[in-house]
Symmetry: C2
Subunit: 377 residues, 2 copies
């Protein structure tokens, strides 16, 4: 049996809806995965995350490797048991953090050496070691190690980098054990369509379980990002899920689903929530704004999330200003609800072959100068 | 109808169990009130707090007065609606924070002037203004303004202070409106039994709805505190609840219930939880200790709280070390569960007239050099 099977149940233009069959259950696509960086979606219990409609979450291998350690997690029964999340978990390779957060020391054909951002310890990652780490976590969808070239890298550099990425992907596949989860490759190549095509060509030769688009939303102009996605998705092998990494702006989710993307993850909704910025169908609401001091209305009128059903903007603003723990929690519940409902709406629209009209309506709302106008940030 | 009625349903020695009838429902006594300083029991939803067995919570008038302001809370429908807690709320007068947290500027017969600890604004509190503030909050059990003399105050100072406290209590009663909640007086007098007796005598002349013991657990030796409580409770008017302010050590709760105390509040269980110290029947567990790194056991074997049912010490320790929001929440759930179950056990023991044996058993456990010995802090 395949480790991962993407059953497409409906298409609407280039958008597609389906069911991703993982070893820990089915995920309806297009799907948004809340990020549980350190073995927790910040502030929420697993049952709250699933209650909001999330079917799969993401764990960060780099963070869990440093603390509490993947061997420790394994000893305690794996990440699912450790954090009490019984559903599927996708883990990244840890590469992104090595290239962004930690102090990268050297990069060679074999792997990457870096210093822990926690204690400066010198560590090493190879395609094989990150597969092993993800296996110890018990990951259902593992990612291959790839380089995340610095934004603005030269074309020649990117061209060489993606060739090595493909060799690393082959090594990762070879290293996977019988009990390892699905393994997804990552298409690189910056904003160059011929490099992206070359990356797809190399990865398509391997028996990978799915494909991610990496190195996007890293500072390139938004239209350029969309062009790259639009150009790349049709080239990917059929029947495998397409995962756009690190993108979570509501408008981007809507547009990228229209380009054939099936899976997303992003810290945006949860991080914004902790910062007091709430997502609504009319754009963002910055609850720190003093105009909400006496506002008895919920974040969004008609929203059925637990936060909007019971709490006013004034109360949430009070909690934010007082730096109360409950602020992070209630705001995160609302933002995740918003994003997960948006995805559910997209799935329904695709099933009924009306993606275009639904997308237009959502995008018009997000850009609408409605009653929330002054609150748009 | 009385604003507050304490129905005593059982006694066991000096310990008593009963039902406190408030305008927002019944509270079983002896009761522990979790502290919701700024309109939230830190990190928890109201339904979680009540699900753990709390029937009444405490709100801090000083904090809510400064932020978001009692007029704002009133405009938004009162504190119950603001924070979504439908049950009874007891509010303090704000005096304690004025004398401890803020910069007290002056104290005279009329009231106290102080500076906000948030922005240095010069503010004033009188017995009348704090009743009005608590009425705007919609408090069910209000406290009179009293002086909290600095620990170590001279006898003469305390003697004069408690006389003024009694005059303030009379002014507070006179200031209360028809719709105001119950009003409780506060017995002062430091560790001097004759001064305590004088304070009781003065307050007993007023038509107060209950009596609190103030100025204890402020640095005096524990046996002295117990003596004062033991000497004071029998002197208090019958049929009114007795509330010991700011005491929440498990052993103190057990012992003070045995001296006739009906109500308690304390930040200890919630603050300790946020600091990674967990309460168990065998004493405290400091989960920061590295010996818990790989420990798959729950905080306390057999504990039925949502935290112990699903999470290991190792996971909680990981969350604490990573400063994850969920740590504060899961630890708070356990500690409140522990304290509220302790109170429920005391109520059952009193109902069955076996307070003494129950108390002995609990106290022996707390001091037991069991398997948790090295973890006692």
């Amino acid at each position: 049996m395949a480790r991962l099977r993407h059953e497409i149940t409906a298409v609407s233009g280039k958008a597609r809806a389906g069911r991703l069959h993982t070893r820990r259950g089915v995920v309806d696509t297009p799907a948004f995965m809340p990020v549980g960086t350190q073995g927790t979606v910040k502030g929420l219990l697993p049952e709250e995350v699933s209650g909001l409609g999330a079917q799969m979450i993401l764990g960060n291998t780099y963070h869990l490797m440093l603390r509490p350690g993947v061997v420790t997690v394994d000893k305690l029964g794996g990440l699912h048991r450790f954090m009490n999340w019984p559903g599927p978990i996708l883990t990244d390779s840890g590469g992104f953090q090595v290239f962004s957060l930690s102090g990268l020391r050297s990069l060679d054909e074999e792997g990457a050496s870096f210093r822990s951002h926690l204690d400066g310890q010198l560590l090493r990652m190879t395609p094989e070691s990150v597969v092993r780490a993800q296996e110890l976590l018990g990951s259902d969808l593992m990612m291959v190690l790839d380089e995340c070239p610095p934004p603005g890298s030269q074309r020649d550099y990117l061209a060489a980098s993606l060739e090595r990425d493909a060799r690393w992907a082959a090594r990762a596949l070879a290293a996977r054990g019988d009990k390892g989860g699905a393994l997804l490759g990552i298409v690189q190549g910056g904003v160059y369509s011929d490099l992206r095509a070359r990356s797809v060509e190399l990865l398509a030769e391997l028996d990978l379980d799915g494909y991610a688009l990496g190195g996007l939303s890293v500072g390139e102009p938004k239209p350029r990002m969309m062009e790259v996605i639009e150009g790349t998705t049709p080239q990917l092998p059929e029947g495998k899920p397409v995962y756009l990494m690190g993108v979570g702006e509501p408008a981007d989710l809507v547009r990228c689903v229209g380009l054939g993307v099936d899976m997303f993850d992003c810290v945006l909704p949860t991080r914004m929530a902790r910062n007091g910025t709430l997502l609504t169908s009319r754009g963002r609401l910055n609850l720190r704004n003093s105009r909400f001091k006496d506002d008895p209305a919920p974040v969004e009128e008609g929203c059925q999330c637990p936060t909007c059903r019971h709490y006013s903007r004034a109360y949430l603003r009070h909690l934010i200003m007082a730096k109360e723990l409950l602020a992070y929690r209630l705001n995160t519940v609302h933002n995740l609800h918003y994003i997960l409902q948006l995805m559910a709406g997209l799935r329904r629209a695709i099933a009924e072959n009306r993606y275009d009209s639904y997308a237009r309506q959502v995008l018009a709302g997000l850009e609408s100068p409605g009653q929330e106008r002054v609150a748009l940030t």
